[in-house]
Amino acid sequence: MSITDRVLGDRQRLAYIASQAADARLNVELETEGMTLNIGPQHPATHGTLRIIARLDGEQVVWAEPSCGYMHRGYEKLAEVRTYPQVTTLVNRIDWLGSFANEVPFILAAEKLMDVEAPARAQHIRTILFELSRIANVSLFLGDLGVQMGAITPVFFAFRDREYVLNLIEGATGGRFHPNFDRIGGLKDDLPKGWIAETKAVMKKLRTFCDQIEDLLFGNEIFQSRTRGIGVIPRDVALQYGLSGANLRASGVDWDLRRDHPLPMAWNKADWKVWTHPDGDSFARCWIRLQETREATKIVDQLIDTIPSGPIMAKVPKIIKVPEGEAWVSTENPLGEMGYYVVSRGELGPFRVKIRSASFNNISIAPWVLRGVYVPDIVTVLASLYFILGDIDR
């Protein structure tokens, strides 16, 4: 193809030299005012390969900018050459900790275009698995929070208790991290025997874990002094940048997509609370995620008792051709609002898929919020914003 065998012209050479010079400017050692610190891409603190270029004045940050793209896999382009069922495998890997939650908005968008609704049983189980992946995702966040602050012990409890949830997901779907279980029209399989009883037992353990973490980490005075008042994001800034999920609710905006945007899922069949917090600081964000994990266990407990019987898959043709149209579905994923804008042309695969991932917006606020904080606070603020590189870079 023409692109691969074109010779490098002068303009491209100049562009390359300019890029090297720009990089060099950033990494100059002897600077008379301030020091430029490069955090990442390989770094224990960032959840993946994120590079943050910070200009420091002593220990205070004057200017910080994240530079992402180290994990860009081109999902939107890849989705255009795949059929609808194949896109699910791609999409699993965007937010790799909240496994099942990635597939749901896409499948719902495709079902919206096809005017197909999954049977009640499938919707119910989808919601249960969705909340389980939320628990899996956020419990790792809670443990990781400790490590970012320096408390090395809670993360082991988090991993230990997360194993139970991953075993549950594996029992139902066959995959711990990438279940690939959702299908247009329903789910791939029904639940295995004994899964319901196991889930109830695991939810109890998770609630104990939440209490332990609250005791060990949130009640700790050092943790509080490290997170209270750090990285305050006021309400209007949060809205403008498109923060979503717990980050938005921590700034006082009462908006939860599960409650406010009805979708063919079973959230309205359970009784649960939306948590908000008036300060927009790091402590608020972490605290809200802790409460949301508890709520998720409550949702699962309520839904698991009332699964309706019935088919697990609606009547869809074997070869799925989605009629022409555009659809947007977004759900309250563990990281925030994740949505898919699916444009279909009546073919086997989508015409264009725009993936709106939560972490992209969450990180875009980093230059704004990291001005004037100390170097240790960079880690605190980024940890509380909670991003996953696969979500940022798609």
Binding site: I39, G150, T153, F156, I222, R226
Partner: protein, 358 residues
């Protein structure tokens, strides 16, 4: 002051020439530094931390992972020694040695028994506190010489922190000195073991009871001097990778590693001497009244008792290390200057008043 010849004659019941005694002292010093380091690393770092985190820790090397230390040493020794191109070579190489040398110097004044000591300084406490500050130099050297911005940040943080926490440590110890009326560590041990609490001499008079404020301040200051959590900003692993130790590999890193735990062990030894009664069990149990009357077998049991008390203190240090998140640098400094120093000054005042009154 007992002469060296007399010492060897009494302890070993055999005449050892002077060079032999010096050799024994050197060996003893090495053992006194490395044995606590190794024990602390194995028992607390490998096993206790693992159990607290609901995992088993190293189990492969030797039964229950007891030979893990040997494996670790071997691993570090066979690693490539990397010297960054722009690092200041001489300073870079000297830095770990400075840190370790200060530990060895520190252990020279610690008494292990009535006659089992290396030197018997009259100003033992003064010397100990002075020499323990040498490690700050080593850390700063490591930070600057590494030609790495992370190391530099770590070194600068360490300098500020270690100097800030020297003061509470010194002030906390002054209370003990006032109570013991001497700076000689051996005399302090004696004072504790021959003393009595309100006439009851079954427990001796370990200064941890009367100087509990001083003990707590000393422990906090020791935690900060060792750059252990919650004061481990200089080595903040999730930000600075390893702080001032980032560029070190192979044997040099091993020296830093050993130095960290050896210093922990030696500080624990000093804490047990100053506050917990050192190598002695209350003399009243045996009817001894002075150091000359203490039986000779105490020279063998003394080190064992010291090790036990050291493990107790090290347990507290490590326990706090694994549980707490870390302070931010300015919060750390605020804590030292605004909380610990006034508290320790108040402790000195109270001790002096009690000493004069009672």
């Amino acid at each position: 002051m007992i002469s060296a010849v007399q010492l060897s004659a009494e302890v070993l019941a055999v005449e050892v020439p002077y060079w032999g005694q010096s050799l024994l002292r050197v060996l003893g010093g090495i053992v006194a530094v490395l044995l606590p380091a190794g024990t602390i690393v194995y028992v607390f770092l490998f096993k206790m931390m693992s159990f607290m985190q609901s995992r088993l820790g190293p189990m492969e090397a030797g039964p229950y992972g007891s030979l893990q230390l040997v494996a670790e040493v071997g691993k570090w020794l066979q690693k490539e020694d990397i010297l960054p191109t722009r690092a200041d070579a001489r300073v870079f190489k000297m830095a770990p040695i400075v840190v370790l040398v200060s530990t060895f110097l520190l252990v020279a004044v610690v008494p292990f028994g009535p006659d089992a000591w290396f030197t018997n300084f009259e100003a033992g406490v003064f010397y100990a506190l002075a020499v323990s500050s040498l490690s700050v130099l080593g850390i700063l050297m490591a930070g600057w010489a590494s030609a790495n911005k992370y190391s530099l940040l770590g070194g600068l943080r360490a300098a500020g922190q270690l100097i800030a926490y020297e003061l509470p440590m010194v002030l906390a110890v002054i209370g003990v000195i006032i109570q013991a009326e001497t700076m000689n560590l051996q005399q302090i041990v004696l004072a504790q073991n021959t003393g009595s609490i309100f006439g009851f001499d079954g427990l001796g008079n370990p200064y941890v009871l009367t100087q509990f404020v001083g003990f707590i301040i000393f422990m906090i200051a020791v935690q900060a001097e060792l750059t252990q959590a919650p004061f481990d900003m200089p080595i903040a692993e999730s930000e600075l990778v390893s702080g001032y130790m980032t560029e070190y590999s192979g044997f040099r890193f091993l020296i830093f590693f050993i130095g960290e735990f050896a210093t922990a062990g030696v500080f624990a030894l000093i804490a047990s001497v100053l506050f917990l009664g050192g190598w002695g069990i209350p003399f009243a149990w045996f009817g001894w009244t002075d150091i000359d009357v203490v039986a000779n077998w105490m020279n063998l049991v003394g080190p064992v008792i010291m090790i036990t008390k050291m493990m107790l203190v090290a347990f507290i240090i490590m326990w706090v290390r694994f549980s707490y998140p870390r302070f931010r640098e300015d919060q750390l400094q605020r804590f030292a200057w605004k909380v610990l120093i006034p508290l320790s000054l108040a402790n000195i005042a109270a001790t002096s008043i009690f000493k004069v009154v009672m």
